[in-house]
């Protein structure tokens, strides 16, 4: 239970980190919070030749709001800061509501926003939240960068759109439209455990109080965050009555998610949990959207 030997670099700037990645690419691993990487290194499931510790790269640790309301989150921002910073509560209340579900305080004190996204564990909260919030992710490489929608970033189990020489540098979360409500819910055997089922939901109402847009994104429901687009279509244009919500919950849990079974729960049981959570989350999100109207 000790990591295999590796070379270690702790660059003080993003430029230096990107140079190292350009030279070493696939042989190197980025160390951010390390709350997933160090355990797999302890198990020797990962044996990188070079570890690039970016914890000194202060330019990746920021939280600010643009004039248009876009929330910008540096990749190295600790999860604990997302939990505590009033800016997150004001600009992205869905994120604020969900962060306390991420593992435990000991983990959130080290774990980073970008690290969780780049690790792309389908049972983790932040990937599903990034998709539900419509986040855009900035991927930097030596001498260039590109922006990718969160929905296109997660390619599969622990797999993302990141190329070996790229670093996830920041996320931009656009402001929610008026009359938007949200809810994050999950069920875990103990607080802080990986969820057996979880949902990030967001609904926006039009001026007449009907649903203009709904987003339902599930964790622990497949190889990556799962968006229930079909269920969202059932909600669009409708009054969010109990029967409409029930139809969407049924559609999402039956047809759109593919939860893996494990020792604690069968796929069918997880579908059941997802259906119940969908119902609760949509009711809560709809109530909040009406309050905001």
């Amino acid at each position: 239970m000790k990591p295999a030997p590796f070379e270690y670099e702790a660059p003080a700037s993003l430029e230096a980190a990107l140079d190292l990645l350009a030279r070493h690419g696939g042989d190197a691993k980025i160390l951010a919070g390390g709350q997933s990487l160090i355990p797999v290194m302890n198990f020797r499931l990962a044996e990188p030749a070079l570890l690039i510790d970016i914890n000194r790269v202060a330019e990746l640790d920021f939280l600010r709001q643009d004039a248009d309301g876009t929330l910008r989150i540096g990749a190295l921002t600790r999860q604990r800061r997302l939990e505590r910073d009033p800016l997150v509560a004001a600009a992205a209340p869905l994120l604020h509501e969900a962060v306390p579900f991420i593992a435990h305080p000991q983990i959130r004190n080290r774990g980073t926003f970008g690290g969780s996204l780049a690790h792309a564990d389908p049972a983790a909260e932040l990937p599903a939240l990034a998709v539900a919030l419509g986040a855009r992710l900035r991927l930097r490489r030596a001498g260039g960068d590109r922006w990718v929608d969160a929905a296109d970033f997660f390619a599969g189990l622990f797999t993302t759109a990141l190329e070996p020489e790229e670093i996830l540098a920041e996320a931009a979360i656009p402001p929610a439209p008026p009359r938007t409500g949200w809810a994050f819910l999950e069920i875990a055997r103990r607080h802080g455990d990986y969820a057996q089922a979880g949902i990030a939901a967001r609904v926006t109402l039009d001026e007449s109080g009907r649903c203009r847009e709904a987003r339902l994104v599930y964790l622990s429901a497949g190889d990556a965050p799962v968006q229930a687009l079909g269920a969202a279509r059932l909600l669009a244009g409708e009054e969010l009555s109990d029967s409409v919500i029930e139809a969407a919950a049924e559609k999402a849990s039956r047809d759109e998610i593919h939860p893996p079974g494990d020792v604690h729960a069968t796929p069918d049981f997880k579908r059941h949990l997802a259906r119940v959570l969908t119902r609760r989350a949509l009711r809560r999100a709809a109530d909040r959207a009406r309050e905001a109207a």
């Binding site: 030997p5 270690y8 390390g34 302890n42 510790d53 305080p105 983990i107 103990r190 607080h191 802080g192």
Partner: protein, 156 residues
């Protein structure tokens, strides 16, 4: 690397792959920090890193360069004896074998600083990242309540 542990400065040359928990135990001889699962699940190795609880078995020692750590040894008051939370654990039977206790203490000391009057549910949530196989947790919860009550009483 240079690191301050329990107020004392150390300077050591170490291999990058050395875990922070092993550094504390083997390089500094601070064996109060216990090593259970070594992959960030059991919480026995919890210490304070710049005042915040972290799991030392899933950090590299080199990452502590320039930082201040507190281990369970650092809870001992200046004149010796027990920290009030340790006292409460002792009185309430908040431990049996004691292996997990340093991790619980290092998780709960900052918790009580931030939440001086916690509900039982908040206490249970706060200790959800630490495993104890002996007590069934009830007596640990009792100990936290007792420590919180005494703290409240003494501050009034």
């Amino acid at each position: 690397m240079k690191v301050t542990v329990n107020g004392r400065a150390y300077e050591k040359e170490i291999e990058p792959r050395l875990l922070l928990s092993d550094f504390l135990r083997h390089e500094l001889g601070l064996t109060g920090t216990h090593v259970g699962c070594e992959h960030g699940v059991c919480g026995a190795c919890t210490i304070l890193f710049d005042g915040e609880p972290v799991r030392s078995c899933i950090m590299l020692a080199v990452q502590a360069d320039g930082h201040a750590l507190t281990t369970v040894e650092g809870l001992t008051p200046a004149g010796g004896g027990l920290h009030p939370l340790q006292e409460a654990f002792w009185e309430c039977h908040g431990l049996q074998c004691g292996f997990c206790t340093p991790g619980f203490l290092m998780t709960l000391v900052p918790f009580l600083e931030a939440n001086p009057d916690p509900s039982e549910e908040e206490i249970r949530q706060a200790l959800s990242g630490n495993l104890c196989r002996c007590t069934g947790y009830q007596h640990i919860v009792d100990a936290v309540k007792l420590a919180a009550e005494r703290r409240q009483a003494s501050s009034q």
